[in-house]
């Protein structure tokens, strides 16, 4: 039992903005004061300190074949030793962290939940093995659906019942959390050396279009009432002029409604927010996108903020990764995952003086500043935009125009011409940044017990040495940037795991997966699955992940 005393709480979900209060924890949950025996409580003095729910990273690449391939192809990343083994496990990595480092580094910035945002279904046993090797945080993985042959087939046949059954089957077999879509149709076209360029390009051999795939998946996802909406990586990622495709894609869900959450989450939008017609005249399309997102009540986005320095591009968007490899001349690995999708990995360094990199950096911030704080989640699309360990930097930048002005001095002047960053006066409040890192990502994912400190919530808590009554983030951005990097406490499931910025204990989180089988007729796709497996290298009975394979699975049943 814990008694967190006199903390200054910001908890947007429960409308609390800087109230001095006590929080009580029992059996890993936040409880009423009357539930605990104060004499038996471990007391944590949070006087003049900021008390928040643990951070939720709803889009990162932390497990599975891509990051592991990245580690293999980037030995230089493995030379940074973060911690030698002792009481805790050895951890290393510059930006591409090893599994233990991933959990520790999240905890060290006060984050307690992280979602692997693209898991190739055939690789799901591996994804879960790696998730199980990540300490502290709670986890989940999103299998990729947007280029899976049965999805094309049921979409072409306009058979939504079968599509729903297939999603339910796939989520159970992969122990997946929700429907991820990456460059729908484009990755299949890549198998023939191509891509799709608009929502109406046909996918080779299937006669379906990205527009149909997205629309059908969103409708199926909504009819299944999965906790999370479709999680979409749009077509034309990384292509100048692509902001129009992004806007057109968002408008596909106009008029669709869900009272609890968005019906479409568009991810790492920075990479899909470019105006212009080539890399010569590329500019920001962030303002137009922000207008559209702000005007819709059923779409959310995350930033995909680049951080200057080393990163590694890794996405299920195989054709884009090939383009990037050609553009930069950097190493490239292509990952095929049978008839479910593909992926690529390319090392990258974001340089402040490089006009394109500076532009990308500015666009990420524009999106973070111009989109309402209950619609945009803070993310770097780790490790595509850079390390999540830099979230405190992004938080400080969103809160301080002065800090942005200082940073603008060191980046390519192209940014002044091609974006409106310098003219944006918005300074997000601490409350809004807490929304963007806690309550909103939890709501976007549909995880009710995450991202807030109300009774019944998981006791995932971060306490920082920031007194909101005394610190002015606009002027004291250094304090914000420094203190969010070293929580006084990170508490995971009621256990103290970080004290004064250092890991003091290792706990193991759960892996959430969603079971929607009750909502569908699984028999309906039995024949289809049998024929699907005739063209597959793994037999049906061997495909997927069973509970016993996982360290700590948590099944969320959809009723």
């Amino acid at each position: 039992m814990l008694w967190i005393k006199n903390g200054i709480v910001i908890d947007p979900k429960n409308g609390i903005d800087g109230e001095k209060m006590d929080i009580f924890v029992k059996d890993g949950k936040i409880v009423e004061e009357s539930e605990v025996n104060k004499n038996e409580c471990q007391v944590i003095d949070a006087n003049n300190k900021l008390v928040l729910a643990g951070g939720v990273d709803m889009h990162a690449h932390i497990a599975g074949s891509k990051i592991n391939t990245g580690r293999t192809m980037r030995p230089e990343e493995m030379r940074i030793v973060r911690q030698t083994a002792g009481k805790l496990r050895a951890s290393m990595g510059r930006v591409l962290l090893t599994s233990p480092a991933i959990g520790y580094e999240y905890a060290k910035i006060g984050y307690t939940t992280a979602v692997e945002a693209a898991s190739p279904p055939i690789g799901s046993p591996h994804t879960h093995e790696e998730l199980d090797a990540i300490p502290v945080v709670d986890k989940a993985a999103l299998p990729v659906f947007g280029n899976w042959h049965p999805v094309f087939k049921f979409t072409a046949e306009k058979d939504r019942e079968k599509l729903k059954a297939f999603i339910a089957w796939a989520l159970e077999r992969t122990k997946g959390f929700g429907v991820k879509v990456v460059n729908p149709g484009g990755v299949e076209a890549w198998m023939y050396g191509g891509n799709v360029r608009s929502l109406d390009d046909e996918v080779p051999n299937f006669g379906v279009t990205p527009r149909e795939i997205i629309t059908e998946l969103v409708k199926a996802n909504e009819e299944l009432n999965l906790p999370h909406s479709v999680h979409l990586h749009c077509n034309n990622l990384g292509v100048p002029g692509n902001y129009q495709t992004t806007i057109e894609t968002m408008k596909l869900v106009s008029g669709m409604k869900n009272d609890d959450r968005q019906v479409l989450h568009v991810t790492h939008v920075q990479f899909n927010a470019y105006a212009g017609s080539s890399w010569r005249d590329v500019a920001s399309g962030a303002e137009e996108i922000a207008k559209v997102v702000n005007s819709m009540d059923n779409v959310t986005i995350d930033m995909g903020q680049p951080i200057f320095g080393h990163a590694t591009a890794m996405t299920g968007d195989a054709p884009f990764q090939f383009t990037l490899h050609k553009l930069t001349g950097a190493r490239w690995s292509n990952k095929d995952s049978e008839i479910e999708g593909g992926a690529g990995i390319v090392p990258i360094v974001y340089l402040p003086k490089n006009p394109v990199h500076a532009l990308q950096w500015a666009i990420g911030l524009e999106l973070g500043l111009l989109v309402d704080s209950d619609k945009v989640v803070l993310s770097t699309d780790y490790p595509n935009g850079g390390p999540y360990t830099e979230y405190p930097y992004i938080m400080a930048m969103l809160m301080s125009k002065r800090m942005r002005e200082k940073e603008l001095e060191r980046v390519s002047p192209y940014v002044q011409k091609a974006t409106s960053l310098a003219a944006i006066d918005v300074e997000k409040t601490l409350y809004e940044v807490v929304q963007m890192t806690r309550s909103l990502p939890a709501r976007v994912l549909g995880l009710e017990n995450k991202g807030h400190l109300g009774v019944g919530a998981d006791a995932d808590i971060a306490i920082y040495n920031i007194n909101p009554a005394e610190v002015d983030p606009s002027a004291q951005y250094d304090v914000i940037n420094a203190e969010f990097r070293r929580p006084v406490y990170t508490i995971k499931g009621g256990e103290v795991v970080v004290r004064d910025g250092a890991i003091v204990a290792e706990t193991w989180g759960r892996t959430y997966w969603v079971d929607a089988r009750k909502k569908v007729d699984m028999q309906a796709i039995d024949e289809d699955l049998n024929s699907f497996f005739e063209y597959y290298s793994v037999e049906r009975r061997n495909y997927g992940v069973d509970d016993y394979w996982m360290r700590s699975p948590e099944r969320l049943e959809v009723n």
């Binding site: 980037r74 030995p75 230089e76 990343e77």
Partner: protein, 234 residues
């Protein structure tokens, strides 16, 4: 001057980033300097006899240091004299100063070094002045002289500085070289694969790739990468 002698014959590798800076530290600090003996963290005095003579910024390593890695790594000034053989990664990331090895050197000598001087009186093994796996640039400045012979992969991805080998060398010399100079007085194998710039001078026999074109005083290539590197006979 700080003199170190191994206390016993090392069974496993020792990782010790010994630089001349150490000679300027207090004796207590020197004794407790952390080194790795295999997987165990040890203090310097557990593995070496320590003797101080005067306050010169110089390190004398007396005895067999062939299992001791990372000597002089990142050093920026002063001198190291190894009176015997030295282990891998000697002088890696070196920024200045001088290392003299009276015996033989192991792999990765002067890898990614930026400046300074390394002299080997005996032979050296592979990967002299190279980039570590995954890095894009090898040696960028300074000089490495090998009085004897050297192994394979000399100066891979090197961008500046000079590597001189008075004897012969092995295969794959100056692969992906971007600048600087490699001089081999004896024979060697293939040279200049994917070479973009710099110059390789060879006294003896060598194997030329078909992707070099003849120029007035030698060959230019590697045309596969539109390279402007030069290979000349001396």
């Amino acid at each position: 001057m700080l003199i170190l002698k191994p206390k016993f014959e090392f069974e496993v590798s020792v990782e010790a980033e010994l630089t001349p800076d150490l000679a300027e530290k207090g004796l207590e600090e020197i004794r407790s300097f952390k080194v790795w003996y295999g997987k165990l963290e040890k203090s310097l005095e557990e593995l070496f006899e320590i003797e101080m003579q005067g306050d010169e910024k110089k390190l004398v390593l007396d005895g067999d240091f062939s299992k001791v890695k990372w000597i002089g790594a990142g050093m920026s000034e002063g001198e190291i004299v190894v009176k015997g053989n030295v282990g891998a990664n000697c002088g890696a990331y070196m920024k200045g100063g001088r290392i003299v090895i009276e015996g033989n050197a192991d792999d990765w000598l002067g890898a990614e070094m930026k400046d300074g001087e390394i002299v080997v009186k005996g032979n050296a093994k592979n990967l002299i002045g190279c980039a570590y796996y995954g890095d894009v640039t090898g040696m960028q400045g300074g000089g490495i002289t090998i009085e004897g012979n050297a192994g394979n992969y000399i100066g891979e991805k090197m961008a500046g500085g000079v590597i001189e080998i008075k004897g012969s060398a092995g295969d794959f010399i100056g692969t992906e070289m971007k600048g600087g100079e490699i001089v081999i007085h004896g024979d060697c194998g293939f040279v200049g694969g994917d070479m973009k710039g710099g110059i390789i001078k060879i006294g003896g026999n060598f194997d030329l790739l078909p992707t070099f074109r003849k120029a007035e005083d030698g060959w230019v290539g590697d045309v596969l990468v539109n390279g402007e590197g030069k290979i000349v006979k001396i």
